[in-house]
Symmetry: C2
Subunit: 184 residues, 2 copies
DNA sequence: TCAATGTAATTAGATAATCTAACTATAGGA
DNA sequence: TCCTATAGTTAGATTATCTAATTACATTGA
């Protein structure tokens, strides 16, 4: 869960909003000489934007009493519902987190009856994880809002901007996934 | 801290990588009719990209034993070092988190001698917070790497792409900050 | 002037998402 | 059959949040 600090008595005394420029000045002073300042500026804004997008989505999902990580996992299960075997290990591998972290997520989701864990007959060490009917229902309730929030992020771009933007985003994301060794 | 799961015995059995298309199919099936699918697609990739960027930066900062939130706060203090009064309240206000959360960050930073808390003479309820010499030193050690990581995020774009991208990013970020009521 | 109320900061206690290390149970090979 | 690898969980920790309660100081108005 995150943000939405509501009230808590508004402070009189406030810090002035500095905007971007002091960050850029600081950058000029402190960046190594082989760093391209324009690129760094761009990267910085992307970082900020990423933060804001995450916040946005979190706020949105909070209404459904679920977090992005958990929705992520439910979607993963949803898209692999046809697989004979989906284990906590393979989930961990895919999400780039530890098995124990997956266990924690699964416990939470199971408690809410959103997933089911079944022993795997062919190998007694393994567990098959699948999304439950209730889980699917929840996902189907969430998704329309989720997509519309996604769309709203880029609403104000015109067709042409969107086209260029899309090309660039896909490129950047692919290269980052490669660097991080992650990916869907 | 985050990622870098290192080893933990590579799993034999893996989930197939599905790529983007099943997400798009799911979107087509589940988006409300007034959601623009192209926009939603774009937004979704931005969300993923934002996640990846965060991870990237986290990994980077881990080497300095600090997190993004804490660096953020140190930078804020750095840029307001000339202010007579910087209180936990005003910091909370600016970062969009609760005062108690700021207290927690400050305790950690103070323990490491990166900041100093001084009672404010003109109003006994308030505390002035400033970055310490040690804090400044750390920031100066971190920033070159930080900027270079930022730059590396968009390295593979050519000049023209960067130009368009920059315009779009600034626009989107501004509108999101407005919607969220945040901002630097 | 002093009691009531407002504000600043902290503390207490909770939740979420992660980690490492240790443990249990099963599988499979020498 | 015993040893070791693997799957999953548990135990215990950290980070970043939150809300509610507490403490201490400030202000104000009868």
């Amino acid at each position: 869960m995150k943000r939405k600090p509501a009230k808590e008595y508004t402070t009189e005394q406030q810090l002035p909003k500095l905007g971007t420029s002091p960050y850029l000045k600081l950058m000029e002073r402190t960046a190594s000489s082989d760093t391209n300042l324009n690129s760094a500026h761009l990267g910085l804004i992307m970082l900020w934007l990423g933060d804001n997008i995450l916040d946005m989505v979190d706020i949105d999902l909070a209404a459904f009493d679920i977090t992005e990580s958990k929705l992520d996992l439910l979607l993963l299960l949803s898209l692999h519902a046809d697989q004979e075997l989906v284990t906590p290990s393979s989930i961990a591998d895919r999400l780039g987190i530890r098995r124990s972290s997956v266990t924690a997520l699964l416990i939470w989701l199971e408690k809410k009856n959103l997933i089911v864990r079944e022993p795997y007959a062919k190998d007694g060490r393994m567990t098959h994880v699948r999304i439950s009917a209730e889980g699917s229902t929840l996902v189907n309730q969430i998704l329309p809002t989720f997509w519309s929030t996604c769309a709203s992020l880029v609403d104000e771009l015109d067709k042409e901007e969107q086209a260029v933007f899309q090309k660039v985003l896909v490129k950047l994301n692919a290269s980052l996934e490669k660097r991080l060794g992650s990916g869907r």
